[in-house]
């Protein structure tokens, strides 16, 4: 309910003609109720049809069939027929036709049909297309029934939306042509409408309207910059807030009907510009390269296919999906040796160039990080060297099982008890450049899936739960999906009475006797004397190492040191990550744990790319850590190196909300000058919005000369009406200009003089004399315009404003004033 109407509000108004009522309420009778000229309606129809055509063309995506032509003829005939029919009806009849329900029915009907198709037939359209088609139907209905100005405005508004959508979706020339037609028709409509509607402009200005609540402005001023920050912001922020809208594939929230995109979508976007745009996706690009591809593709395109010089094992696949030729050069990277020595040379200053590829990444990981990807597991430690000596147990051959239509290799290991599993993790790897056949995988690997590979003999099980490809090296840029189970050490302890079990293999418990063992054992006992269970012991040792020792990759023990580990633990207290891992492994072994030393790659959360939802793993992420046996074939990752973390259980919903809030807070703190600036600008814009609008109007009033006296007066009245709005003294719908000018005198600044009766008479003559349209702007009119334009209103508080409003309660209908009083 418009508050300005409290004094004239009718008690009730029948609902027989809602639109009429609405039009009266909003004071737009003259434009809302009258049919526009044929030219205006034709232009709005043209604009509506152009927008629909643009949408349709974008929808068809170039696949135009012959059936389109009769379809369009029918649509145009329908629109023209309905429009002509409505024009022939008298005004009051055409307004009472319930058009709004028809439009709503069109919109909802289209929405339901599309949804129904999705449910019934299982074929679906992306969410945005369903919405846009429904909007298209709505626009069709609006186009056909747009006889009045507000409805035609609606057509242009919806049409603009459709055209923008079509243009941003498809860069087809025909869509662009339709968009241009729409623009041309819209501009034409605006021009003609401006000319036709100028006389009623003041009436529209005078409509009472809901004032823009100030608190909403302030809230917007704060929320909008925040939203901008979130939308464009870094890493976790965008990650935390994504997923609210059905995804078109790129955000990782998978919707089977969405269009393809980067990330978890159905299709790969070729990373021709930037290798990071490779998501972990299930179709492989077919790279002309000297190295063998995983897929043996018969390429029957016109050009001779590039033959690999070397052949590796390959699996035959169908011709689809369309292959993408991507020119790339891959760099060779070195891989871990079979032996790992803790005695190393110091780092040379010269860094090895990885190659000329745009990415230095070895691989990309999709899924939760931090992640320890194991490449090599070492069992025996002789005081200096770690050696992998686990016996090749007779591992049962892995089996392929089809899950959701996809072949998964089940790695046959003993499964942990359900209660001890903290989480089942899924990760996807995309190898960029890793010269090994071993699949880097987290501990507790359960299943592996590589698109199209449905034969178990492509994989080779390795000891320590590892898996390798039965070929020379891992296939590049082919996503490898991994499922692993994360063990919760505390839950294991609950069952094992505070002690982890040990392995049958003594190798995992052996440590070299001698000085090393004595010192280390002493340290271990010292550090863990307050710990009462296995978990606490491990935690104590890890805590000590992480807090009291310094990670220094360049720290190398002197050449004459017999035991680098002892030197690290007792003397230097600084060293690279393998010293931390070795120390932890040996310390735990002296306490009776079964441990092993693992090298591999560490997917760091710091490298997590929130937009692409994956983590780069660089050569610098080569890392060493420890695994502890917890019993029943399960190993637990231990991270003694400071700065590295172990993957914890997934956060709860509340935890997620908290983390997101924290991330937002952090982002605000980090970018506080920007946020402050944005808030300040927003606040200033909200605060001064009227002044700025006023300034533009004033400038327009001053610069553009009016052609007739009527136009001059009208424009001046609009100007003052706009000003008066700020003190709630705007012209009311049923108020004549003279009544209004007399009424607002009380709100004027004291320095401004009101108009005298002669000036009021000039205004009336200019506006209402039959020749008003022809009267030129003479000096009188100019003087009156300037007098009105001098109207300035005292800024008043709310209470005073209400008083003013209540004073001018009655329009001066029945007050003939002091005229014609006879003597």
């Amino acid at each position: 309910m418009p508050p300005a109407e409290h004094h004239t509000k009718p008690q009730a108004i029948s609902s027989s003609s809602t639109e009429t009522l609405w039009a009266h309420r909003s004071g737009r009778t003259s434009t809302a109720l009258h049919k526009t000229s044929v030219a205006l309606q034709s232009l709005s129809i043209a604009a509506g049809l152009a927008a629909l055509a643009a949408l349709r063309l974008a929808d068809l995506d170039g696949a135009i069939s012959a059936w389109e032509i009769p379809g369009w003829v029918a649509v145009i005939a329908l629109v023209a027929g309905v429009a002509a029919g409505l024009r022939r009806l008298p005004d009051h009849v055409s307004y009472e036709i319930p058009i709004l329900p028809v439009l709503v029915a069109l919109f909802l009907g289209a929405l339901m049909v599309e949804t129904g198709i999705r449910v019934l037939f299982g074929i679906g359209q992306p969410f945005e297309w369903i919405v846009m088609r429904s909007l298209g139907w709505l626009a069709l209905g609006m186009t056909a029934t747009a006889v009045t100005v507000p409805r035609q405005r609606g057509v242009l508004g919806v049409g603009l939306f459709l055209v923008v959508f079509a243009l941003t979706t498809h860069f087809l020339p025909d869509v662009q042509i339709c968009g241009s037609l729409f623009l041309a028709a819209s501009i034409g409509w605006l021009v003609i409408a401006h000319a036709e509607l100028l006389p009623s402009q003041l009436s529209r200005q005078a409509k009472s309207r809901q004032p823009f609540p100030r608190w909403l402005g302030v809230a917007l001023a704060i929320v909008f910059p925040l939203l901008c920050l979130v939308a464009t912001g870094e890493r976790h922020l965008a990650h935390g807030l994504s997923g609210w809208i059905p995804s078109s594939g790129g955000s990782g929230d998978y919707d089977p009907y969405s269009r393809g995109g980067i990330g978890d979508g159905d299709q790969l976007v070729a990373g021709t510009e930037n290798i990071q745009s490779f998501g972990a996706l299930d179709d492989a690009p077919f790279i002309p390269d000297h190295r063998p591809s995983l897929y043996d593709l018969f390429d029957d395109t016109y050009n001779e296919p590039v033959r690999n010089e070397k052949q590796d094992r390959a699996i035959s696949i169908r011709q689809d999906p369309a292959n993408r030729q991507v020119e790339r050069h891959l760099a060779e990277t070195q891989q871990a040796a079979r032996q790992f020595s803790t005695a190393r040379q110091s780092r040379t200053a010269e860094q090895k160039a990885v190659g000329s590829i745009p990415s230095h990444a070895l691989l990309h990981v999709a899924g939760r990080v931090p992640l320890h990807l194991r490449l090599e597991v070492y069992d025996r430690f002789d005081g200096v060297n770690w050696t992998p000596e686990a016996e090749f147990e007779s591992l049962p051959a892995p089996k392929i099982e089809t899950v959701h239509g996809k072949p998964w290799l089940q790695v046959s290991l003993r499964h942990p008890r359900e209660a001890e599993v903290a989480a089942t993790e899924t990760h996807a790897l995309k190898i960029v450049s890793l010269d090994t056949a071993r699949i880097p995988s987290p501990v507790g690997l359960r299943a592996v899936h590589v698109d199209q590979i449905d034969r178990a003999d492509f994989f080779q099980p390795l000891p320590a739960g590892q898996l390798a490809f039965q070929r020379e090296r891992l296939p590049e840029l082919v996503p490898i999906h991994l499922v692993s189970e994360l063990i919760d050490g505390r839950r294991v302890l609950e069952r094992h009475r505070d002690r982890f079990s040990v392995t049958d293999n003594r190798l995992h418990r052996d440590y070299p006797v001698g000085e090393l063992s004595r010192e280390v054992r002493q340290l271990a006992f010292d550090w863990t004397k307050d710990a009462h269970d296995s978990h606490a012991q491990i935690e104590a040792i890890v805590r000590r190492l992480r807090s009291e020792y310094v990670l220094d990759n360049d720290a190398v023990p002197p050449a004459d040191v017999a035991s680098p580990v002892l030197h690290f633990l007792a003397t230097s207290r600084r060293g690279p990550d393998y010293q931390f891992a070795t120390s932890a492994a040996v310390l735990l072994r002296t306490l009776g744990f079964s441990t092993r030393f693992v090298t591999g790659l560490y997917a760091s959360p710091e490298r997590y790319d929130a937009r692409r939802r994956h983590t780069e793993v660089l050569p610098a992420d080569v890392h060493a850590w420890v695994e502890v046996y917890v019993g029943e074939g399960q190993w637990l990752t231990i991270e003694p190196t400071p700065g590295y973390e172990v993957l914890g259980p997934p956060p709860t919903f509340l935890g997620w909300i908290g983390a997101t809030a924290l991330a937002i807070g952090k982002a605000i703190l980090e970018a506080w000058p920007l946020v402050l600036l944005a808030v300040a600008i927003g606040a200033i814009v909200v605060r001064l919005r009227r002044s700025m609008a006023m300034w533009f109007r004033q400038t327009w009033w001053m610069i553009v000369p009016p052609k007739t006296a009527a136009e001059a007066i009208r424009r001046t009245l609009v100007l003052v009406d706009w000003r008066a709005r700020r003190v709630d003294l705007q012209r009311r719908p049923g108020e004549t200009p003279t009544q209004w000018l007399v009424r607002i005198r009380q709100g004027l600044d004291s320095v401004v003089e009101g108009l005298d009766p002669r000036q009021l008479a000039i205004i009336q003559r200019a506006l209402y004399a039959p020749t008003a349209k022809l009267n030129p702007v003479d000096d009188d009119v100019r003087a009156v315009c300037q007098a009105i334009a001098r109207y300035r209103f005292a800024r008043v508080g709310r209470t005073t404003r209400e008083n003013l409003s209540s004073k001018g309660l009655l329009p001066a209908v029945l007050v003939p004033g002091n005229r014609r009083m006879a003597t």
Partner: protein, 318 residues
């Protein structure tokens, strides 16, 4: 050139006459300038007038004064429940000498007819006035008699809650251009009234005033009023107003096209009286209450607030 000058002089003369008329009426009815403006508007717009008020407020005085100043024939009918239609229109009487029926003219064959307390007459009698008011003619026994071109009815009525009254049918009401209430005068005006009547004999009559306007002049004025131009946006405004009354939930009978025509004429008259040669929305609004209150069918006793509401709702063109 000479013709223009003459026309100008004549127009100036007419304006003087109107001012004299206004002055005289203001003297007859003290402190009621606004009512008198409306009465004059009604006269110039060729509309009939209905005065509704309590007894003794000067309704009859006003009517008689108006008739006298216009210089036309004045007739008066005191309506009572036993008044017959022929008492108003006239009747045929058999002439013994000529052995023919002769038409004996009733009071309607005058220039100003005062139908006093019209709602005391029976509906049948009231209806007799219908044709006279609408078409300015009387049909009796298939013979049609023209009335004066300036035929102007001033009817008075007591408020309906008084005893022994018959409400006027809507068809009759629509023939009136305006309904006015005179209302009690102010204290000062009442005092002046008393003072001025000291020494005046009771026989002193308001009709003693010399006519200030001849019938020809009046007709000329009426023609001028009808010719006052009105711009198209204002015609649309009038139409919007009328349509709004028809859709209003509290109005059972909206403005008829005849009522709308009357409204426009009254607005023209108001503009003319204001000395303008064009109509403004202020004119339309100024005559709205008397014009609409006679013809809107509402459930309210006083339709004025409703009419103000309508005027406030419908946007004024600018």
């Amino acid at each position: 050139m000479a013709t223009t000058q003459t026309t100008f002089d004549r127009a100036a003369d007419l304006r003087t006459s109107i001012d004299q008329l206004r002055a005289w009426l203001n003297r007859v009815l003290r402190g009621k300038a606004e009512v008198i403006e409306h009465v004059l508007t009604c006269l110039l717009g060729r509309g009939h007038l209905l005065l509704e008020d309590r007894p003794g407020l000067g309704k009859t005085t006003l009517a008689k004064g108006l008739a006298a100043t216009c210089g036309g024939r004045f007739a008066r009918v005191q309506c009572t429940p036993d008044l017959l239609p022929s008492d108003i229109t006239g009747f045929n009487i058999f002439n013994q000498k000529s052995h023919e029926f002769e038409f004996r003219r009733g009071p309607v064959f005058s220039d100003v007819l005062l139908a006093d307390e019209i709602n005391r007459a029976t509906p049948r009698t009231q209806s007799a006035l219908l044709e006279a008011m609408a078409e300015r003619q009387v049909t009796l026994d298939t013979v049609c008699y023209r009335l004066s071109d300036e035929f102007f009815v001033i009817a008075t009525q007591n408020p309906l809650d008084q005893h022994g009254t018959y409400p006027l049918p809507e068809a009759q009401l629509d023939r009136f251009a305006m309904k006015l209430s005179i209302g009690y005068p102010d204290r000062e005006d009442e005092l002046g009234l008393l003072q001025s009547s000291i020494g005046e004999s009771d026989t002193a009559d308001v009709t003693a005033q010399e006519p200030v306007l001849s019938l020809v002049e009046l007709r000329h004025l009426q023609e001028q009023v009808a010719a006052v131009p009105i711009s198209r946006p204002l015609l649309e405004y009038l139409t919007d107003l009328a349509r709004f009354t028809r859709k209003h939930p509290h109005i059972s009978l909206g403005v008829s096209p005849r009522g709308l025509l009357t409204w426009m004429r009254m607005a023209q008259g108001w503009a003319f009286l204001d000395g303008r040669d064009f109509v403004t929305p202020d004119d339309i609004q100024s005559v709205a209450i008397p014009v609409l209150s006679v013809r809107l069918g509402t459930d309210h006793d006083d339709p004025a607030p409703l009419i103000r509401e309508i005027l406030a709702e419908v946007p004024v063109p600018c």
